[in-house]
């Protein structure tokens, strides 16, 4: 063990303190929302809630449960449907695209790859996208939510890179046995790519779980909207209340704990999945960084 110089000890100590601060800053806002959702409204609005729930109560969750403007549980169900179903669809399409494009001998590979890569550098923009959806009669439709952002070109490239790393010899020997491309893909490439498939599914899943913009724009029917859109309405309302309330009126904040409770149930799956997600996400970033 090499002895550290005094200046190094000072640096290491400061660094440790700073990093502890980073941890606190990263986690505390979520922690605050959680404890506030379990505290009484009056305790929250008078600023007593800091580290643990004060005047523990489940009122906020009950209020959320019986919130009539938007059925929170139905929108929660919608979010699960869009996230799980959408991710499955995304994966099927991504693999179906990435597998052929990973074959060196595919005729027209360069052109086809170029057709999708171009989408990474230039997009049609919000207006043409919206008008296109309207022309396809996809306003206020669940299908639109499944289709929008269904394929991410970046993820296709990641998947393709992974398929390319699987040795050709495996494919050739399977061909010798008379296997079709579909079988080779299903029985050789997909089982060998489980880590990559997990990573990319998580990318899609988190993206879909957290997205709100197009759902907000397209879905008018309350029975179809996902949770993030409900939350968006509540959050914007909170902001509007703030501006009307000015500086004095405390009564408008009675809904605050309910909004916190909704946030808690909205992030809960992310937090539960987080240990797994994190590992895979980091891997994906590394692969992306190396292969470009």
């Amino acid at each position: 063990m090499i002895k550290r110089k005094p200046s190094e000890v000072v640096f290491d100590t400061c660094n440790m303190i700073l990093m502890v601060l980073v941890i606190i800053v990263s986690i505390y806002p979520l922690w605050y929302v959680t404890i506030a959702s379990f505290s009484s409204t009056s305790a929250v609005s008078s600023g007593k809630v800091l580290l643990v729930p004060v005047e523990f109560t489940l009122d906020a969750f009950k209020q959320m449960w019986s919130y009539d403007d938007y059925a929170i549980w139905r929108s929660y169900g919608n979010t699960i449907l869009y996230s799980v179903g959408g991710t499955a669809l995304s994966m099927v399409l991504t693999i179906l695209g990435a597998y052929p494009l990973s074959k060196k001998y595919l005729k027209g590979k360069k052109f086809l790859t170029w057709l999708i890569l171009i989408t990474m550098w230039f997009g049609p923009g919000m207006m043409p996208n919206y008008i296109n959806l309207r022309n396809l009669h996809l306003l206020d439709s669940r299908i639109a939510i499944f289709l929008i952002g269904c394929i991410s070109t970046f993820n296709v490239v990641l998947m393709r890179t992974f398929f390319e790393s699987i040795p050709d010899s495996l494919e050739e020997s399977a061909k010798l046995d008379g296997a079709s491309h579909f079988r080779i893909m299903r029985d050789i490439f997909i089982p060998l790519s489980v880590p990559a498939i997990m990573t990319i599914s998580l990318y899609y899943f988190v993206g879909r779980w957290n997205s709100f913009f197009w759902a907000m724009l397209l879905l008018k029917d309350k029975a179809k909207i996902p949770l993030q859109v409900v939350l968006k309405k509540l959050v914007v309302e909170m902001n509007a209340n703030n501006s009307q309330a000015g500086m004095i009126d405390y009564t408008t904040t009675s809904r605050e704990t309910m909004i916190y409770a909704t946030m808690v149930i909205a992030v809960m799956p992310m937090i539960i999945l987080y240990p797994f997600i994190q590992k895979y996400f980091v891997k994906g970033i590394m692969v992306g960084a190396i292969k470009g």
Partner: protein, 330 residues
């Protein structure tokens, strides 16, 4: 294999069940025969490209509305051509300068604050002696990245609330006046960039952390033998080691200086803060989609302007990167 060579025709090779020299044979096959042989691969691509046609190429066709007076009832094709009228309108409108300025300023402020902080964070993380503690810090710092825009904005709003926000309660205790930060144009950019930093610094550091990991340990050892202390090692090994990564990331950031997503902006701004908060994309959203009287073509023209400028900047940045660091993105 000899028999195929003698018999010659490509069709026969395509039908040949022995695929040992699959890739080599290819060179002697006609294009059609190859496509027929690999037809299953093309079948797989059909649903894939249908999606691209529906969600990318069809909207691309719709870009023409930027040069037309698009009327929903007449449709894209039948609407009247008006040339660059909408672009001229945009450049002459008082909003033009405002939204371009805000877009660029927010990006520049973010480049001079969040960008270096991300690198500093990665470097400090690298200097931590305990591996376990390092993992804990990393895990915690990634967390904000996984929280949705809506929730992050909600956190910011409640944090800064004039009545119940922690910051204002603290100001109250210290006798300072309560401030409604989100209604003050002068605070908007700071709030927005701080929010982006909170969400992005930890996760953004990954790329530098992985660059730091790939620095050869021998270099540190050599430096130590030459008598370099920890600071000297940092200066002469660590910094040069991640310089290429920094250069690429910076070029990328500069390349995207004209584009900024509107998702969190439209949740955070209010008419009173438009002066500093309204960016190109939020402007497009407001006039084209949110408004009761949407100006489709005008909004599309503004969006197209942003898209084209961004594309040129990215291409330029890439060229620059090729020349300077010998690494390019594409």
């Amino acid at each position: 294999m000899n028999s195929t060579k003698k018999n010659g025709t490509t069709a026969q090779i395509a039908g040949d069940r022995s695929h040992i020299n699959y890739i080599r044979i290819k060179k002697r096959m006609g294009a059609t025969a190859q496509i027929v042989r690999d037809r299953q691969l093309y079948y797989m691509l059909i649903p894939f490209f249908i999606w691209y046609i529906l969600m990318y190429y069809m909207p691309m066709y719709g870009i023409q509305i930027a040069f037309k007076d698009y009327k929903p009832l007449r449709g894209i094709t039948a609407s009247e051509w008006v040339g660059i009228k909408h672009f001229i309108n945009f450049f002459q409108s008082p909003y033009c300068w405002r939204v371009i300025r805000n877009t660029i300023l927010i990006n520049i402020y973010s480049i001079i604050t969040v960008f270096p902080l991300t690198i500093v964070f990665a470097l400090l993380l690298n200097e931590l002696r305990s591996k376990k503690f390092k993992t804990i810090v990393q895990t915690a710092s990634y967390l904000p990245h996984f929280i949705s825009t809506v929730i992050v904005v909600g956190l910011v709003i409640s944090l800064l609330s004039p009545t119940t926000g922690i910051i204002n309660m603290a100001r109250d205790i210290f006798g300072a006046e309560r401030i409604y930060f989100l209604a003050k144009p002068e605070y908007f950019r700071t709030i927005y960039i701080a929010m982006g930093g909170w969400q992005g610094i930890g996760f953004g550091a990954i790329i530098y952390t992985s660059a730091l990991c790939s620095i050869d340990g021998c270099l540190y050892e050599a430096a130590r033998i030459d008598g370099a202390g920890r600071f000297k090692q940092f200066l002469h090994v660590t910094i040069p080691g991640i310089m290429p990564t920094i250069a690429i990331m910076l070029i990328l950031k500069v390349g995207s200086i004209m584009s900024l997503g509107m998702e969190s902006i439209i949740l955070l701004y209010q008419p009173i803060t438009y002066e500093t908060a309204d960016v190109i994309s939020s402007f497009v959203y407001r006039i084209g989609l949110e408004s009761a009287n949407p100006q489709y073509s005008f909004a599309a023209a503004v969006g197209l302007f942003e898209g084209v400028v961004s594309l040129m900047l990215v291409l330029l940045a890439n060229k620059f990167s090729k020349a300077v660091t010998e690494t390019s993105l594409f």
